[in-house]
C-alpha cells in the first residue's frame, strides 16, 4: 500500500500548487489562466483513477500517510481512504476539471476565480482524505472561504446576501463540530485526534452515554447544515441560485455530500450507540427532506431553484438509507451520494447552458425547445430521467436499494417516502414538458444548439450515469465492504 508514494497528498495538494502557479500569471492572460487551472486539475483526476484501480475493497484504510504534525497536541498529518471515501474523492477529481471547463465563459477577474476554485478543490479533497480530526476540521473550514468569494464575487444579483448566508449557516454548524472535537480530544487519554481509534479510546476512558449523545448531536448540527437537512436547509436555494454554474455544480455535487460523508466517517464510527439512539429522529428528518423538498421543487418557477430543492429531496434518500442500518440501505445511501453528485452536476450544467443563451431561467418562459435544440433536449431528458429514478439509469439503483433496505427497519416511513418518487417524476416531467414540448416559443427561433465544450462537460457524466445504471457492481463493490464494517460496529 505504501509503495504508491504520497498518492493522497499529491491528489489533494496539486490543485493548491496550481493556485500558486496561477498567482504568477499576469491577469491579462485570461486564456492561459484557464488553461493552467485546467492542467492543474487533471493530474489529480489521473491519480484519482489510479487510486480507483489500485484500491482493494477488502482492506480497510489504504494509501495511508501518517506523520506527526504538532506533537504537543498529538496532531498528525494523517491521510487515508477507505471504501466510503474513494467514491467521493473520485467524484471530486472528476467534477473539478468539468467545472473549470464550465467556467470558460467567465471573463471578469478570472485569475481570482481560478485561484479560489483550486483552493476549494484542495479543501474538498482534504476533507475526504483526512483521518485526523484536527486535519479534517481544518480542511472543512478551509473550504468555506473560497466558496464565500466564489459565490460573493462571481454570483448573481443577490450574491452578497447568498454568500454571507451560506458562510454564517455553515460556520454556525462548524463551531458545534469544533466543540465536539475539543470535548473528544480532552476526554481521551492520551489526548487523540485519530479518527480510526477514537471509538475505542473513548470506551476506555469510560465517558457516559450523555456525553456521547451530546457530542453526536453537536456533530450532527455541523453535518446537517451541509447536507442540508431540514430545518437547516434555507441557505441552499439562495446559494445555488446566486452561484455561477460551475460553483452550483460543486455545491450540489460535492459539498452536500460532505454532510453525509461526515456523518458516516466521523459520527457513526466514533459514536455507534448514539447513531442508533438518534436514528428515529434522523429518519423523520429524512422524510421531511424528501416530501417537503419535492413539494417545494414543484412550486418553483426558476429552473435553478427547482434543481436546488430537488437536491434537498435527494439528500433525504441518503439520510433515509443511513438511518436504516441494513446493508442494502447503507449501500444505497453511499451509492446515492455518488449518483446524486453526477446527476445533479449534469442538471446544473444544463441549466447553465440554457441560461448562457436565454439569460433567464424562468421555466414558463421557454416552450418547444426540443424542436430547436434536439441534442440539448436529449441530454436534458437523460438527466431528468436519471433524477426521477428511471430504471436503467444510476439514480434508480441507489433509490431502490435505499427503499429496499429501509423498509424492514422503518416500514411506514419508507412507504411515505416513496411518495417522493411520484412527486419527483411529477415536477421533472412537468418541467420538461414546459421547456421542451409544445409549440416553439418564437423568441427562441435562433437559440443556438449546445456547443462542443459544453458537450465535453456533460458526456462523461452521462456515460457514468448510464453505465452505473446498467452495471452498478463495480461501484458497489468498492464500498460494500466498508459499509458492512461500519454496520458491524453499530449493530
Amino acid at each position: 500500500m505504501s509503495d504508491s508514494g504520497p498518492l493522497l497528498t499529491l491528489i489533494t495538494f496539486l490543485p493548491l500548487l496550481g493556485m500558486c502557479a496561477i498567482l504568477f500569471i499576469p491577469s491579462r492572460q485570461k486564456e492561459w489562466i484557464k488553461i493552467v487551472s485546467l492542467i492543474f486539475t487533471l493530474p489529480s483526476l489521473v491519480l484519482g483513477i489510479k487510486m480507483l484501480i489500485e484500491f482493494d475493497p477488502q482492506v480497510g484504510y489504504q494509501f495511508i500517510e501518517k506523520a506527526p504534525w504538532i506533537p504537543a497536541f498529538n496532531i498528525h498529518y494523517y491521510m487515508g481512504v477507505d471504501g466510503l471515501s474513494v467514491p467521493m474523492v473520485f467524484l471530486t477529481v472528476l467534477l473539478c476539471p468539468i467545472c473549470v471547463l464550465a467556467s470558460w465563459g467567465i471573463e471578469d477577474r478570472i485569475k481570482g476565480y481560478c485561484a479560489m476554485f483550486l483552493l476549494l478543490e484542495t479543501g474538498m479533497l482534504g476533507v475526504f482524505c483526512a483521518l485526523d480530526l484536527f486535519l479534517f476540521y481544518v480542511f472543512w473550514e478551509l473550504m468555506l472561504l473560497p466558496m464565500y468569494f466564489l459565490i460573493g464575487i462571481w454570483g448573481g444579483p443577490r450574491k452578497e446576501y447568498a454568500a454571507i448566508k451560506f458562510f454564517l449557516y455553515t460556520l454556525f454548524g462548524s463551531v458545534f463540530l469544533l466543540l465536539a472535537v475539543i470535548a473528544i480530544w480532552l476526554a481521551t487519554s492520551p489526548h487523540s485526534f485519530d479518527m480510526t481509534q477514537l471509538n475505542e479510546q473513548l470506551l476506555q476512558s469510560g465517558v457516559g452515554a450523555t456525553f456521547r449523545n451530546l457530542c453526536f448531536l453537536a456533530m450532527y448540527v455541523a453535518f446537517a447544515v451541509k447536507i442540508p437537512a431540514f430545518p437547516f436547509h434555507t441557505w441552499l436555494p439562495d446559494a445555488h441560485v446566486e452561484a455561477p454554474t460551475a460553483i452550483s455544480v460543486i455545491l450540489a455535487g460535492i459539498l452536500l455530500k460532505m454532510g453525509t460523508y461526515g456523518i458516516l466517517r466521523v459520527s457513526y464510527p466514533i459514536f455507534p450507540d448514539s447513531a442508533k439512539w438518534f436514528a428515529p429522529v434522523m429518519v423523520m428528518i429524512a422524510l421531511i427532506n424528501i416530501v417537503y423538498g419535492s413539494l417545494c421543487a414543484m412550486a418553483q418557477t426558476d429552473l435553478k431553484k427547482l434543481v436546488a430543492y430537488s437536491s434537498i429531496a435527494h439528500m433525504g434518500y441518503v439520510m433515509l438509507g443511513m438511518a436504516s442500518f441494513t446493508p442494502a440501505a447503507m449501500n444505497g445511501a453511499v451509492f446515492q451520494m455518488f449518483n446524486h453528485g453526477t446527476i445533479t452536476a449534469m442538471l446544473f450544467l444544463l441549466v447553465g447552458v440554457i441560461y448562457d443563451r436565454a439569460h433567464h431561467r424562468d421555466i414558463d418562459g421557454f416552450g418547444g425547445l426540443a424542436a430547436q435544440t434536439p441534442i440539448y433536449a436529449g441530454i436534458t431528458s437523460l438527466a431528468f430521467f436519471a433524477a426521477l429514478g428511471l430504471p436503467g439509469l444510476s439514480g434508480f439503483i441507489s433509490e431502490a436499494l435505499v427503499f429496499l433496505g429501509a423498509f424492514p427497519t422503518w416500514p411506514i416511513i419508507t412507504i411515505l417516502s416513496t411518495s417522493g418518487i411520484v412527486l419527483t417524476a411529477g415536477y421533472m416531467l412537468w418541467t420538461f414538458q414546459r421547456i421542451f414540448l409544445g409549440p416553439l416559443n418564437e423568441k427562441y427561433r435562433t437559440l443556438p444548439e449546445i456547443n462542443a465544450r459544453e458537450l465535453v462537460t456533460l458526456v462523461p457524466l452521462a456515460i457514468i450515469v448510464l453505465f452505473l445504471g446498467i452495471y452498478p457492481a463495480p461501484m458497489l463493490n468498492i464500498f460494500d465492504h466498508a459499509v458492512r464494517e461500519l454496520l458491524n460496529r453499530i449493530l
Binding site: W69, I70, P71, A72, F73, G112, Y137, V138, E141, L142, L144, L145, Y148, F149, G152, I153, K159, E160, A163, I164, F167, L168, L171, F172, V175, F176, L178, L179, I182, A183, W185, L186
Partner: protein
C-alpha cells in the same frame, strides 16, 4: 538578588533606557527629515538590540531581582519580547505615517520607548509600589501619544477621554492596593498571598480590594464594564498609536492581571492547577466577565461604520476571549493567553497597518471607502482579508489555533457554557468582519488605484506571513507559551 548583580538580568530594559535618552538627545543634534531619518534609525536599532538581548534571558533560572522588586522568570521574559517586538513594528509603521506630527518625531519615538520600558517593568514587577510606578510610566506616555496627531477635534476628545478614564481607573486600582496593604502589611505580592492564605481570609474586603485592582487592569485590556473609552480613543488616536494600544497595552493589562492575580490571590496546587481562597469563586467571576465582554464587544461592533471603531469593539471582544484563559485558573490557561497574544499581535498589527495605509493615502477610515479595494490595492486587500479571517478565528490562520487553545483551556477547567458562548460569539463576529471583506472584494468602488510606500509591501508580507505559517507550524510557539507560563512562585 542585590541591585548590582541584578543588572545582568536587566539588559533589555537598560538598552531601552539608553535608546530613549539617545533619541531625545538626537533631536538637539539633528534636523528633522521626512521618513527614515537618524532618530528613527536610532530607535529601530535600539529596539532591535533590546529584542535580541532578551533572548539571552531565556535560559537563566527564575530569580527575584533588585531586592524583591522585580521578577526574572520565563513569563516576564516572554512579555519583554512581546512588548519590544510590538514597539519595533510600531516605530516602523509610524515612520511614514502622515498622522503623526513630524517636527516632534524624536519626542514621539522617545515616548514610545518609555512606554515600552514601562510595559516591560509592569510584566515583571512583584511589588505593589513598583507595579504602580511601571503602570504609570506606560500610562502617561500612552495619554500623550493618544493626542499626538496633526488635527484637533476627535483626537483631542480621544486624548481627554483616555486621560480621564485612565486617571480614574488607576486611582481606583491604587485604592485597592492600599486596602490590600492595610490588610496584610506588605507590599510584596507573594507576601500578600502568604498572609491571606495563612489567615484563610475570606473577608469581603479581600474581594473588594481585588475588584478595585481589576478596574485598573480591566481598563487596560478594555474589558466590560471598563471599555467605554475604547471606541472613542481608537477612532481619535493616530492609527499607529491605536495599533500600539490595541496590542501592547492589552498585553500589559493581561501581564498585570495574571501576575497580580495568580501571585496574590491564588496558590499553586500542583500539576498546573491553582487553588483560590475559600468562599471566593474567582472562576465564575472571570467567566462572567469574559462572557459579558466578548458578547458586548461583538454586538457593539455590528453597527459600526468606522473601521477603527469596529476594530475597537473587536479588541473588546478579543479581551473577552483572552479572559477565558484567566477564568480557567490553570497554567494551561496562562499558556493559552500567551499563545493567543502572539497570534493576536501579528493579526491586529496587520489589520491596523492596512487601515493606516488607507488613512495615509485617502484620509478615509469609513468602511464604504474600502469598496473595491481589491482592484485598487490588491496586496493590502488580500492581507487585510487574511487578518480579518484570523480575527474571526477560521483556519488556515493563526487566530484559529489561538482560539482553539483558549477553548481547550477553558473546557478543560469545566467551563463548558463559556466555550459555547465563545464559539457562538465567533459566528457573530464573522458577520461584521466580513462586512469589510465584502466591501473590499464583493463591491465595486472608484477605479483610482491606491499607491503606498514600497516599504509597506515588505512589512505587510512579513506581518501577514506568520498569520498563515503559525497555523501550520504552531508547535514551537505552543512550546514557548507553555514554557513561559511559568512564573516565580
Amino acid at each position: 538578588m542585590d541591585n548590582l548583580s541584578s543588572l545582568s538580568y536587566f539588559i533589555p530594559e537598560l538598552t531601552l533606557t539608553v535608546t530613549l535618552l539617545l533619541v531625545l538627545c538626537s533631536d538637539l543634534l539633528h534636523r528633522e527629515q521626512e521618513g527614515l531619518d537618524f532618530p528613527a534609525w536610532l530607535a529601530l536599532v535600539g529596539m532591535f538590540v533590546a529584542f535580541v538581548a532578551h533572548f539571552g534571558l531565556y535560559g537563566k533560572p527564575a530569580v527575584s531581582l533588585f531586592e524583591g522588586m522585580i521578577a526574572h522568570d520565563p513569563f516576564a521574559v516572554f512579555f519583554k519580547g512581546f512588548f519590544i517586538f510590538c514597539t519595533f513594528i510600531i516605530v516602523l509603521l509610524s515612520i511614514y505615517s502622515s498622522e503623526v506630527f513630524y517636527y516632534r518625531k524624536s519626542e514621539y519615538l522617545a515616548i514610545l520607548s518609555a512606554i515600552c520600558l514601562g510595559m516591560c517593568l509592569t510584566a515583571s514587577s512583584t511589588n505593589l509600589i513598583m507595579l504602580y510606578l511601571s503602570i504609570e510610566l506606560m500610562s502617561i506616555g500612552s495619554y500623550l501619544l493618544a493626542g499626538f496627531a496633526r488635527s484637533g477635534g476627535k483626537t483631542d476628545e480621544a486624548a481627554i477621554k483616555y486621560v480621564l478614564f485612565g486617571a480614574m481607573s488607576t486611582g481606583v486600582m491604587l485604592f485597592g492596593m492600599s486596602i490590600l496593604y492595610g490588610l496584610t502589611g506588605t507590599m510584596d505580592i507573594a507576601g500578600i498571598r502568604q498572609v491571606l492564605f495563612a489567615n484563610v481570609s475570606s473577608d469581603p474586603v479581600v474581594l473588594l480590594s481585588f475588584l478595585f485592582v481589576l478596574v485598573g487592569a480591566g481598563y487596560k485590556i478594555a474589558a466590560v464594564p471598563f471599555h467605554f473609552w475604547c471606541p472613542d480613543v481608537y477612532e481619535g488616536a493616530p492609527t499607529p498609536v491605536t495599533a500600539f494600544l490595541s496590542v501592547a497595552s492589552k498585553g500589559t493589562g493581561f501581564a498585570l492581571l495574571i501576575r497580580f492575580f495568580y501571585r496574590a490571590m491564588l496558590q499553586p496546587a500542583g500539576e498546573g492547577t491553582w487553588s483560590s481562597l475559600p468562599a471566593i469563586d474567582w472562576m465564575l467571576l472571570f467567566a462572567i466577565l469574559s462572557a459579558v465582554t466578548m458578547t458586548a464587544g461583538n454586538l457593539g461592533a455590528m453597527p459600526q461604520r468606522n473601521i477603527k471603531r469596529l476594530l475597537a469593539y473587536s479588541a473588546i471582544a478579543h479581551a473577552g476571549y483572552l479572559l477565558m484563559g484567566i477564568a480557567a485558573l490553570t497554567s494551561e490557561g496562562i499558556a493559552s493567553i500567551l499563545f493567543y497574544l502572539v497570534m493576536y499581535l501579528f493579526t491586529n498589527l496587520t489589520a491596523f497597518l492596512v487601515v493606516m495605509i488607507l488613512v495615509n493615502r485617502t484620509g478615509e477610515d469609513e468602511i464604504p471607502s474600502y469598496r473595491g479595494l481589491w482592484q485598487r490595492a490588491p496586496l493590502p486587500a488580500v492581507v487585510m482579508a487574511i487578518a480579518l479571517i484570523s480575527l474571526t478565528g477560521l483556519p488556515p490562520t493563526a487566530g484559529f489555533v489561538g482560539k482553539l487553545y483558549l477553548f481547550i483551556a477553558a473546557w478543560h477547567s469545566g467551563l463548558y457554557w463559556l466555550v459555547v458562548v465563545a464559539v457562538l460569539n465567533s459566528v457573530v463576529s464573522l458577520y461584521y468582519y466580513f462586512r469589510i471583506v465584502r466591501a473590499m472584494f464583493l463591491e465595486t468602488g472608484p477605479d483610482t488605484a491606491i499607491s503606498h510606500q514600497p516599504v509597506y509591501e515588505t512589512v505587510l508580507v512579513l506581518l501577514a506571513a506568520p498569520i498563515l505559517l503559525l497555523m501550520i507550524f504552531f508547535g514551537p510557539v505552543l512550546r514557548l507559551a507553555q514554557y513561559c507560563a511559568q512564573m516565580l512562585p
